[in-house]
């Protein structure tokens, strides 16, 4: 099982898109979980710091110059595939801050505790909502506080019983 057969990337696939440890150690940075050559390039256009490189061929995978990434998260809502996340591994001693795209209703509230789900929708922890950003294009951005060891595991939330799974 891997992303072509069930949509859930495995370790080897993730290793291609997770920033190096020394970059993660510096602060908030983008994680672009885009694994397939499809014609799509809004992420590069949305990046104000030039970190996501312009596409030579629109079918290429995004390339990121992590040194330039400020972790602003503007690319999160731009991605048609909801495949972009921002991770700040240094939020506290034991916690990381994670920004995820979210298109379900109701939106969680700041301070609310919700279920943190992994890439297959399994609950792996209770997580606290730090911020809710409503965006113009309706891909809202939710910032959650997650256990540090789950910063590369949690990729979704479940608010109440509203969702599938």
């Amino acid at each position: 099982m891997s992303i072509p057969t069930n949509g859930v990337p495995v370790k080897e696939e993730l290793e291609q898109v997770i920033p190096p440890a020394e970059i993660l150690a510096k602060g908030p940075v983008v994680v672009v979980e885009c694994f397939q050559n499809i014609p799509c390039d809004p992420c590069a256009a949305s990046c104000p710091s030039g970190a996501i490189q312009p596409f030579e061929d629109i079918n290429n995978l995004p390339t990121v110059d992590y040194e330039k990434c400020t972790g602003c998260g503007l690319c999160i809502a731009s991605c048609p595939g909801l495949a972009i996340f921002v991770v700040d591994i240094n939020y506290s001693d034991k916690e990381a801050l994670l920004k995820i795209p979210y298109e379900m209703l109701p939106l969680p509230k700041k301070g609310q505790v919700v279920a943190g789900l992994d890439r297959s929708g399994r609950k792996v922890a209770d997580v606290k909502v730090a911020r809710v950003q409503r965006t113009k294009n309706k891909t809202n951005i939710i910032t959650i506080i997650v256990p540090k060891d789950l910063a590369m595991v949690i990729r979704n939330i479940k608010v109440g019983d509203e969702q599938n799974g």
């Binding site: 992303i3 069930n6 885009c34 629109i58």
Partner: protein
């Protein structure tokens, strides 16, 4: 009888783009669509588009439709006829149209050039009880939900993990409807993996090499049996699994809606890579019939992004054939073709590219059946 430079049949992404392009060349245009409103499938597509900014990447389909329709309504060159079905195009150059909800008013128009952008229809799948209420096409469910606000059921099995199956499954969950599983007969997910990952993160299992074997129920769908299949697409015994569902969504492909093209008599061929019978055409989207151009899914099943560019190419060249050369004709024609080949420059478009090679009429070998 009213005459137009260009009549476009079909008001989806291809037809809308063709209408605006033709109008920008100062041609008089009639846009005919059988829907209650223009927009085709765009009006229910709440997902953000892929592609580049020229094809509205990052914008949701519904907003793309609004944008197009707004511009079309403001264009003095374009007349619109909705709730109108084009029924035939005859030797004397007349297009017949049945207008009104019951189709009881016959309209005749005379286009100098016709652009057929009739789109596609959903495929059906043979399985036991496939005629029970509760068995839907995924596109039909998307229309019910996103256009009319009607809930199709409570617990859904999605059949097919192409883009339509994945996207509609996601939108069902947005509408608070439970999706039990997605089954896909092929060994790999056919749609974009990013769509599959969105669904997976919501806890919906995607089973590849697996299909729907049987639906149970008396008056309506009461459950389904799915079953793994081998490389020859045969059921693997003892691998059945029962699902408690009341709704089956079939997202098992589309076929070009080519009836009108058949009737006109232009040359057709069955091209598996393009998902059915399509008209032969040159790179300017002109068919074997001098006055008929095509664009969008009727030329072969693809994406709305490429349909819009094909519409632009057809609009630009159909008007040019009448002498309405856009002042930047050469530049635009090569730009659109370049954009189209960029969109198709990936592994997922290999079949499309192969299929197009089989239908393309090269320069100089155009068969002209003049009316």
């Amino acid at each position: 009888m009213k005459e137009y430079d260009i009549v476009i049949v079909g008001g989806g992404p291809a037809g809308l783009a063709a209408a605006l392009t033709a109008a920008s060349c100062a041609a008089s245009v009639l846009l005919v669509d059988d829907g209650l409103q223009l927009g085709g499938q765009l009006i229910k597509q709440t997902h953000k588009f892929f592609g580049s900014s020229e094809q509205f990447a990052g914008i949701r389909g519904i907003e793309i439709a609004d944008n197009f329709i707004d511009k079309i309504k403001k264009s003095p060159n374009i007349d619109i006829l909705t709730q109108a079905t084009a029924t035939g195009y005859y030797e004397d150059g007349i297009l017949t149209i049945l207008e009104g909800l019951n189709g009881n008013s016959l309209v005749k128009v005379k286009p100098r050039c016709l652009i057929v952008a009739t789109g596609a229809a959903e495929n059906m799948l043979p399985f036991i009880n496939n005629d029970l209420p509760g068995v839907y096409g995924a596109g039909a469910v998307q229309t019910l939900m996103n256009v009319y606000g009607v809930v199709p059921g409570e617990k859904v099995l999605m059949v097919g993990a192409g883009n339509i199956g994945l996207i509609v499954a996601y939108q069902l969950i947005q509408a608070k409807i439970k999706v039990e599983a997605i089954v896909e007969a092929m060994p790999c997910i056919g749609g974009y993996w990013v769509h599959a990952s969105k669904i997976a993160r919501l806890g919906v299992p995607i089973y590849t090499s697996c299909t729907l074997k049987e639906v149970r129920g008396k008056e309506q769908v009461e459950g389904a049996t799915i079953c793994n299949i081998d490389k020859k697409f045969c059921f693997i015994s003892q691998s059945e699994k029962d699902l408690d569902v009341d709704t089956i969504c079939l997202a098992v492909g589309l076929s070009p809606l080519s009836e009108l093209l058949w009737q006109t008599g232009c040359e057709m061929n069955y091209i598996p890579e393009l998902c059915g019978y399509v008209a032969l055409r040159d790179e300017n989207m002109r068919t074997s019939s001098e006055k008929i151009y095509i664009a969008g899914d009727v030329t072969g099943i693809e994406e709305a992004s490429s349909a819009m560019i094909e519409g632009q190419i057809a609009g630009l060249n159909a008007t040019a054939s009448l002498g309405f050369y856009h002042k930047e004709y050469t530049k635009l024609n090569s730009k659109y073709k370049r954009q189209l080949s960029q969109l198709r420059n990936n592994i997922m478009s290999e079949a499309i590219n192969r299929g197009i090679q089989k239908v393309i009429i090269q320069k100089g070998e155009t068969h002209v059946y003049s009316h």
